[in-house]
C-alpha cells in the first residue's frame, strides 16, 4: 500500500485531514427497514461530503440484503478496487468474520460498525451503539415513572444479538422493581407486524399501562392499533432510535409518547470520518468508540430532530 502525502490545509467541519490518494470501501446492509434506511442516508451524505472535500479520496459504497452478497461485495472491493480501508457493518457476525479477517490480514484498515465480529482483535476500529444501554435507558424510565405494579407489554425485534442485548438491558433495569411484564413477542422491527401484535395484546389484556415498542417503526404500528381500539390515554408507548415523527410528538408534549431512546444511525458517519482520519495516519484512531443511548424528552427533543433525514 503506497500513500503519497500531500500537505494541504483543507478544512472540513470539525475534522481537518491531509488529502491522500486513497480508496475507502463502505459496505452496509440495504435499506430494509427505517433504521437501515437512515443508515444509508447518512452514509451517502458523508461519502458525498468527504469526496467533495478531498478530491483525491475515493469511496466505494455498496449495500447488501444478505450476508452472502456482502461477502461477494467485499471480495470485489478488494480485487477490483484495491481498497486501502474498509468500513463495514456486518450483516451477520459469524459468516462475515472470516472474510473480514482475511482483508484485515492483507494490511487493509478495517472499521467494524455496530455488529461486532465473532472474534476479537480483527478490526482496527470498532464504532457501535450500546444496545445494553438502549434497553436499560427505556427500562429505567419505566421504573422511575410508572406507578408500582404497572403492567407492561414488550415488542421485540428480529431475533438477533442486538435484540437479545436490548432485552437483557431492559430486564436488568426492571429487576427489583414491581413492574409486571405481561408478554414479550417479536414484531421484527416492522410496522405491520407491530400493528397486528398490538391488536392481539389489546384483545388479550384488559389492562396495559405501558408498551415498550423498542423501535420507532414498531411504535408506529402499536400506536395505530391502540387508537383503533379506542384505548389511547390508557397507556404510554416508548419506541426507540429517534425517528423524526416520534421526536416531533415528544417535542409537542404528546402524552402517549413521552420519551424516546436514541440509537443513532448516523454512527456510520462517525465511522467513515474516523476511518478517513485513522487510515491516513493523520491521527490515532484505533480502538473502540461506543455511542451511548440517550433519553429524548420534551426538553431536549429539539436537538434530536433532523428535518431532512428520511427517518
Amino acid at each position: 500500500m503506497k500513500i503519497t502525502l500531500v500537505a494541504t490545509t483543507a478544512l472540513a467541519g470539525a475534522l481537518a485531514l491531509p488529502a491522500f490518494a486513497q480508496t475507502i470501501g463502505v459496505s452496509i446492509p440495504a435499506a430494509t427497514h427505517g433504521w437501515a434506511g437512515a443508515l444509508n442516508y447518512h452514509a451517502e451524505r458523508t461519502v458525498e461530503r468527504l469526496e467533495e472535500t478531498y478530491p483525491d479520496m475515493d469511496f466505494v459504497l455498496t449495500t447488501t440484503s444478505d450476508p452472502g452478497t456482502q461477502v461477494s461485495d467485499l471480495e470485489d472491493m478488494v480485487a477490483t478496487r484495491g481498497i486501502d480501508a474498509l468500513v463495514v457493518l456486518p450483516f451477520e457476525s459469524e459468516p462475515l468474520t472470516g472474510p473480514i479477517q482475511r482483508i484485515a490480514e492483507s494490511g487493509t484498515w478495517v472499521t467494524v460498525v455496530d455488529r461486532g465480529l465473532a472474534q476479537d482483535g480483527i478490526e482496527d476500529l470498532y464504532v457501535a451503539g450500546d444496545n445494553m444501554s438502549f434497553g436499560q435507558t427505556a427500562g429505567q424510565y419505566f421504573v422511575d415513572n410508572l406507578d408500582s405494579g404497572a403492567k407492561l407489554v414488550v415488542m421485540r425485534g428480529i431475533p438477533s444479538t442486538v435484540d437479545n442485548e436490548r432485552v437483557e438491558g431492559f430486564e436488568a433495569a426492571l429487576e427489583g422493581s414491581d413492574l409486571e411484564v405481561l408478554a414479550m413477542d417479536h414484531a421484527n422491527w416492522n410496522r405491520d407486524n407491530a400493528f397486528t401484535l398490538m391488536q392481539d395484546y389489546l384483545s388479550r389484556f384488559s389492562e396495559i399501562d405501558a408498551v415498550w415498542a423498542a423501535d420507532d417503526d414498531q411504535a408506529v404500528g402499536a400506536l395505530a392499533a391502540i387508537e383503533q381500539a379506542g384505548r389511547s390515554g390508557e397507556m404510554i408507548v416508548v419506541g426507540g432510535a429517534g425517528m423524526k415523527e416520534m421526536v416531533d410528538r415528544i417535542r409537542n408534549g404528546d402524552e402517549t409518547v413521552p420519551v424516546n431512546v436514541t440509537y443513532p444511525p448516523s454512527m456510520i458517519s462517525t465511522a467513515i470520518e474516523m476511518t478517513a482520519v485513522g487510515a491516513s495516519g493523520a491521527a490515532p484512531m484505533t480502538g473502540e468508540f461506543i455511542i451511548a443511548s440517550e433519553l429524548i424528552t420534551q426538553d431536549n427533543a429539539e436537538d434530536y430532530y433532523f428535518e431532512d433525514s428520511p427517518y
Binding site: 430494509t32 400493528f195 388479550r204
Partner: protein, 333 residues
Amino acid sequence: MTDATAKKPAARRSSVNLQAIGPVVALIVLVLIGISLSDNFLSYANVTNVLARSAFIGIIAVGMTFVITAGGLDLSVGSMAAFVAGVMIIAMNAMTERMGVTLPVVLLGMLIALFSGFAAGMINGLLITRAGIEAFIVTLGTMGIYRSLITWLADGGTLSIGYQMGEFYRPVYYGGIAGISWPIIVFALVAIIGEIAMRHTAFGRHCAAIGSNEKVARYSSVAVLRVRLITYALLGLLVGLAVVMYVPRLGSASSATGLLWELEAIAAVIIGGTLLKGGFGRVWGTVVGVLILSLIGNILNLTDFVSPYLNGAIQGVVIILAVVLQRNTGPAR
C-alpha cells in the same frame, strides 16, 4: 367453448367435497384451540381484527388462485404491493397540495393504485406470454425490481401520507357498514366473485384447462396466451385493490411493506386445495387457507403457548398438516 373443456370440472365435482375437508378441518381445529386458550378469542374485536388483517393477503390470494390454476406463478405480488402503495402515496400527497383534503383526491388515488397494479400485472403477463419467459424467472425479476423501486422512491426510509389526508382516508380500513369493516366486505366480495368466476364462467374453466394440459387446451381453441395474460393482469389489479385497503391502515409504505406476502398468498392457495402444478383451483379453499395462516399468528400472539422463537415452526407444521389432511382424504391425483 367446446364441450370437452366444459365436462372436465363437472366430472370432478363429486370428488371435490371429500378432498376439500382437509383445510376446513384444520380451520375448525384452530378455532377450537383458540377458544380453549383464550377467552377473548371470539370477542368482536378479535374476530374483526383477524378477518380485516387477512383481507390484504386474501384479496391477492384469490387472484393468485387463477394464476396458479392456469399453471403459472407470481412471486412479485409482495414487492408490487409495496411499490403500488408508494406510487399511490406520492400521487395522493402531490394531489393534496393542489386540491386539498377532498374526496376526489382519495378516489383518484384509488384509481391510480388500481391502474398501477393492473399495469404491473400486465408487464408480468406480457413478458411471460409474449416474450415466452418462465413465470418464475419473470416474477423473480420483477420482485427485485419493485422492491428496489419502493426503496428508491422512499429514499431508503418510509413514505407517509399527509396527516390530514391520512385521517380523511382512514375510514376505508377502520370504518364499515353495520359493524363489518370495509376490508372484510371487500375481501368477501372478491372471494364470492372469484368463486363464481372459477366455477361458472368460461374464463375459470379455461384457466383449469390450460393448467391441466396446455396443448389440449390450445387444440380446443382456448386462447391460451390471452387467458394467461388476463390471469396476471387480474392479479395485478387485485394487488392494487389490496393496496387501496392497506394504505389507510398505517398511512405509510416502506421497503418493509408486503414482505413475504407472495409466499403467504401462494401457501394459502395451496393449503386451500389448488394444485401447485395447475389444472385445478378452488377459490373458497384459498379463503380458508388465508384464514388458517392468520389464525395461527393470532393464536400464538394471544397465548404464551410456545416460545415466540418457534412461531415459524408452528406455522410450518400447520401448513404441512393442512395439506396432508387433504391429500389423504381425497383420491390420489
